[in-house]
C-alpha cells in the first residue's frame, strides 16, 4: 500500500523508473517526492522512464503533465522516456495529448536532450 517509486539522483538529474502497475496513491506520492527532491537537491533535470508501463490512463497522464509543470517552475526540465507505441496510440485516442511534456524514445535520448538543454544558456534558448 505505502510502496513508493524510488527517485535516484545522478549528478544534477533525478531519475525515476516506474516498474510496477501504479495505484493512484503511489502516483500522487511520486509527484510529491519529485517536487521535494528537486528543491532538496537543486536538480536541473528529471527523467521519468515509463517503458515498463503497460497503460497510461488519465490519472497518470495528468501526473506527468503536472510534474513537468511543477519541475519547470522549480528550475528543472522533465523528460518522459520510453513510452510504448500502444500506450501512445491509446493516450491520443483517450484525448490526452501531453502537450507541454517533453518526451524521448529512450533513456539515452532523454539524457542527451537534458544535457543539451543545460549546455544552452537560457538567453539563447
Amino acid at each position: 500500500m505505502s510502496d513508493r517509486v524510488p527517485v535516484l539522483k545522478i549528478g544534477d538529474i533525478l531519475l525515476v523508473s516506474i516498474q510496477v502497475d501504479l495505484e493512484d496513491q503511489m502516483v500522487l506520492d511520486l509527484q510529491d517526492d519529485l517536487s521535494q527532491q528537486i528543491v532538496a537537491t537543486g536538480a536541473r533535470g528529471v527523467v521519468i522512464d515509463i517503458s515498463a508501463l503497460e497503460i497510461v490512463d488519465s490519472f497518470v497522464g495528468r501526473m506527468l503533465a503536472t510534474t513537468a509543470a511543477i519541475s519547470r517552475v522549480l528550475g528543472a526540465e522533465t523528460v518522459v522516456v520510453g513510452m510504448r507505441p500502444a500506450v501512445a496510440m491509446t493516450l491520443v485516442e483517450l484525448g490526452l495529448s501531453l502537450g507541454g511534456v517533453r518526451t524521448a524514445l529512450n533513456l539515452e535520448l532523454g539524457l542527451g536532450y537534458l544535457r543539451r538543454a543545460q549546455d544552452t544558456p537560457p538567453a539563447r534558448r
Binding site: 502497475d21 496513491q25 497503460i55 490512463d57 500502444a86 496510440m89
Partner: protein
C-alpha cells in the same frame, strides 16, 4: 448492448473498494484480453478504458463491482467488461459523456475517452439508482 454468448469459464469478478482493487480489475481485464487474442494495441485500449471506469466506480460511485468475461459472436471473440455501483448516479448522461466535463477535479476524459477506446459502450444510470457502464472490445 446486444447480448453475446459468454465463455463462462473465463468469468471474473472484482469488488472495487480501494484503488488497489482498480489495479486488480484492470489486471483481470488484461488477462482476458490476452486469452481472447486481442492485439497488443487493443489490449492496451481496453485495459485503459477499464482503468478509467474503475476509478469512476470508486470515486463517484463509492465502490462497486467489476465483471469481465470473454464473449463470442458468429466469427469473432471479444472481452465484455462492466462496472456497477449503487452510488448517486449521473443526472445528465450526455453532459457526463462530454470531453472535458467533470464534476470534480478530473480532466473529464474518463467516460468520453473510454467510449472512444472500445467497440461497444453502454451507460445506464439514473439519479439515486447507481451507475453501470458496460464495454466490449473485439479481437480483430
Amino acid at each position: 448492448m446486444k447480448e453475446y454468448p459468454a465463455d463462462e469459464a473465463s468469468r471474473e469478478e472484482v469488488e472495487i473498494r480501494s484503488s488497489g482493487d482498480v489495479v486488480k480489475a484492470r489486471q483481470a481485464v488484461r488477462v482476458l484480453a490476452q486469452q481472447a487474442g486481442l492485439s497488443l494495441v487493443n489490449q492496451t485500449k481496453l485495459v485503459t478504458a477499464a482503468s478509467e471506469l474503475g476509478r469512476n466506480t470508486l470515486i463517484y460511485g463509492g465502490g462497486g463491482t467489476a465483471r469481465a468475461v470473454i464473449v463470442r459472436d458468429v466469427a469473432r471473440v471479444g472481452v465484455w467488461v462492466s462496472f456497477s455501483d449503487t452510488g448517486p448516479g449521473i443526472p445528465d448522461i450526455e453532459q457526463a459523456l462530454t470531453d472535458g466535463w467533470t464534476s470534480g477535479s478530473g480532466m473529464g476524459l474518463g467516460l468520453s475517452g473510454a467510449r472512444r477506446l472500445v467497440d461497444e459502450f453502454e451507460l445506464d444510470s439514473a439519479p439515486g439508482a447507481g451507475t453501470t457502464v458496460t464495454v466490449l472490445k473485439w479481437a480483430r
